[in-house]
Subunit: 333 residues, 2 copies
DNA sequence: CTGAAAGCGCTTACAG
DNA sequence: CTGAAAGCGCTTACAG
């Protein structure tokens, strides 16, 4: 049988209320009493029962992180950062893989997990952000991913339009003129928003955008990038640069270029988005947009906890994650 | 206020017991009653309170997965597989990053999370497996990682000695004679066990092992592999092949070889261990030992749930994960 | 097959 | 500063 609060109280010769006070760090306890209780806790190796506490308080100190897939490096790195940020505040993160299924995403929005969790950080991929509504009973929610007008939730994201503008402008600045984009059809608005920045940069440089150079693909993985790059190389007039809307696409594209015997950046320059570790070690290393993931994690958790703490009526917050353009070998050979 | 069981009962015109029976799928309920109850559940959008259920039943249907770091691709892929396997059985997985800290690993072993979880799947990296003991109050535990004699727990792992033997023998079979090993000092026995297979293969082929060719490094990441490879290249007589004890080390080594202008596998052949997706897309693609991660996940979860279900006294189980040697460009240019 | 009641282990007004 | 008691929302013997 596990040790209970009352066992500790009995051993310390105080009431359960006093033990509870010590555990929850309430004031007005003599250091003598505290010491007695702490000794009993140690002696009995007492651990509070989370279920009971959560049932009574209506708070569990668990939050959920709902992401498309944890095996995808960007989400793995993000999940690690969010877990760390939460742990620092005594919060545990439950990671939920939606695998981009609408049904799973709906479950998230329905306030999954039978009220165990206190709130959700949600990175949607199938559900359009504008369509997200929560049941009245549902928990506070912070959205990750592209900004969208008229959203109903707190939101933490990179300014994708600006970042994509910067990435494309960098390619222009090294003399490229026929610049393709891969990932235009990406989920939950990513493709649309990043294309906007890409086109804006072309326009600012006086270049026409060529629809034949904008590849949608079916997903955001290495194989999608590899396939899109093959399509581009089959064009009568292939591109001299590619802006891939995430690093995984870029790594797939690099693989196709290597197979084709083309040099990077000599024949084709490549830029990604996310700055996953993989790209830093690749040969050639990958130029990419590097969002500050620790900042993102820290703030997503912070905003969510604020909301949980009761600022239900406060204004919706919209935080913009700092980023840098990391110039590496794939554009700077 | 959230809907409670009693609200459902009231609306359906039955007792709470009956509602509970329906939810928990107990027999002896007329289909009429069941229909009434289900209608009420739907109408009220009722979700059972997990904390209350868990407090009462003493089971939460949560298990923990404790791994060194979720941003490491192998663990990310494994975590994804284990989450999926658990979800299929109605179990939720809590992922715990120990970051290889002894203190965090100790917390795991102390039966962390105040009894919320029903059991633990643990991949130790700092704590020597032989040293693992659990408090009496602790939960069932399944160990991942290297096998060790005299262990006290269920265990699921690749036969690393055999797999390392196969990897090394493959290098010998393509004509290499000066074969280095990177990762010899790896945590929780991995380095030792894989070196054993490596040496065994050399011996079987009549080759001496050369201590100068066995690199310990400080970790199992890309930068460790890159650094170790630099050391090897600085040798008076560099190797013509390297067996890296995981793929991350191998990818780091490949980067160093690329920087040095050496050809792979022409000058140096490289083999890894884990078969992470990264290695499949790298140029050159990475030859590696590929453990069946889905098999591992399925069985780790299965064994743990068996144990939770009450086979506390049953014999300790020792499952061996199937693997294949995936021959790719890094040894087969 | 169903109902009334106890109890899982906490926290928290309420008295003192 | 401390104690006795209620109650969070379930499940489960126990009666009927």
């Amino acid at each position: 049988m596990a040790t209970r609060l009352s066992d500790v109280a009995a051993r310390a010769g105080v009431s359960v209320k006093t033990v509870s006070n010590v555990i929850n760090d309430y004031p007005h306890i003599t250091s003598q009493t505290r010491a007695k209780v702490e000794a009993a806790i140690t002696a009995l190796d007492y651990k509070p029962n989370v279920s009971a506490r959560s049932l009574r308080k209506g708070r569990s100190d668990f939050i959920a992180l709902a992401i498309p897939e944890m095996a995808s490096p960007y989400f793995a790195e993000l999940g690690a950062a969010i877990s760390r940020a939460a742990k620092r505040r005594g919060i545990t993160v439950l990671i939920d893989q939606t695998e981009g299924e609408a049904a799973a995403e709906k479950l998230v929005l329905d306030g999954m997990r039978g009220q165990l969790i206190d709130g959700i950080i949600f990175s949607p991929i199938t559900t359009a952000p504008a369509k997200i509504r929560l049941a009245d009973t549902a928990k506070p929610l912070v959205l990750l991913g592209e900004r969208h007008p008229g959203g109903h939730f707190d939101h933490v994201a990179v300014d994708s339009v600006q970042a994509s503008f910067d990435a494309t402008t960098h390619l222009i600045s090294i003399g490229r003129r026929r610049i393709a984009a891969i990932g235009v059809g990406g989920g939950a608005g990513t493709g649309t928003v990043r294309r906007k920045g890409y086109r804006k940069a072309l326009k600012a440089a006086g270049l026409e955008h060529d629809p034949a150079l904008e590849l949608a693909g079916t997903g955001y993985h290495r194989d999608d990038g590899a396939a899109s790059m093959r399509e581009l190389l089959a064009l009568p007039e292939p591109p001299d640069a590619v802006f891939c809307f995430n690093d995984l696409l870029a790594l797939g594209a690099l693989r196709t270029l290597a197979d084709a015997g083309l040099s990077v950046p000599g024949d084709v320059a490549v830029v990604g988005f996310d700055d996953i570790e993989d790209g830093r070690y690749h040969s050639p290393s990958l130029t990419t947009i590097s969002p500050d993931k620790d900042w993102l994690a820290e703030n997503a958790v912070g905003v969510l906890l604020d909301r949980i703490a009761g600022n239900g009526e406060a204004d919706r917050r919209d935080l913009t994650v700092p980023y840098t353009l990391q110039i590496r070998e794939s554009t700077n050979g």
